[in-house]
């Protein structure tokens, strides 16, 4: 059974690094209807940046490809972010999620998945070599008293 979101946006963009900031800003603007704190917004933007950067850097290493970003709002003030690419995929997901594991050399630190995991409430990664990767993250935004 699939639960329908109360609201969502869907974006598609090319894997150019200039779109990293755009993706963060778009998610932040959409999430603002949940009235998040600055800290909550910072966490969500950081996690989005990690997922989108991975798609740009790792999924399409020597080419430009398509990235989709879907953000949904579900009952209970839950924000769900899905970042999908159709790139090279990940062979060993468990290993990729380990802290410090990277195939990116000295330009990367191998902390992206660790950050997504610790900044969000949940993180799931589905991937198939040569087919692509789907990263799904959820974060409940606290409902604050005195506000609707």
């Amino acid at each position: 059974m699939k639960i329908k979101p109360n609201n969502y946006i869907a974006l598609e963009f090319l894997s150019r690094s200039a779109n990293e900031g755009f993706a963060r800003a778009a998610v932040a603007a959409f999430a603002s209807q949940l009235d998040p704190t600055l800290d909550e917004l910072g966490d969500v933007k950081t996690a989005v940046s990690e997922a989108v950067t991975n798609a740009i850097v790792h999924a399409y290493p020597d080419a430009l490809g398509k990235i989709s970003l879907r953000v949904g709002i579900y009952d209970g003030n839950v924000l769900e972010i899905v970042v999908r690419d159709w790139g090279c995929g990940i062979t060993d997901i468990d290993k990729a999620r380990e802290p410090l594991y990277t195939t990116g050399g000295e330009e990367r630190s191998g902390m992206g998945f660790t950050i997504m995991e610790s900044f969000m409430d949940s993180l799931t990664v589905r991937s198939k070599p040569e087919r692509g990767t789907v990263v799904t993250m959820k974060r409940r935004i606290a409902q604050r008293s005195g506000r609707k």
Partner: protein, 101 residues
């Protein structure tokens, strides 16, 4: 990303301003390395006071600067790190000075 440098004897201070993500990382590293090569300092202070956003790309920038300073026989400190960037450094287990308020 704007990069400002200030030398004081054998101490070099580099102030960063803007969003430090993958898009900005390469030009930031190049600017830092150019400043280090010119000043050959014993001590580097990376001032994050103007960094409005940082992700793991910033960790790699800091670690590369650190390695460069170690090669020069010196040391590096991170100062004025805003809360969002501090959280990212904390997740990576990197010690840094928080922003003085």
């Amino acid at each position: 990303m704007d990069v400002y440098t200030m030398t004081n004897g054998c101490e070099l201070t580099i102030r960063l301003r803007g969003e430090l993500d993958h898009h900005a990382a390469q030009e930031t590293v190049t600017a830092i390395e150019r400043a280090l090569d010119a000043a050959l300092p014993r001590r580097l202070t990376l001032d994050f006071g103007g960094v409005t956003f940082m992700d793991s790309s910033g960790i790699a920038v800091a670690l590369r600067s650190q390695r460069r300073m170690t090669a020069l026989g010196g040391g590096m400190v991170l100062t004025n790190v805003p809360p969002q960037a501090k959280k990212v450094f904390d997740a990576a287990g990197i010690a840094c000075g928080a922003r003085k308020t």
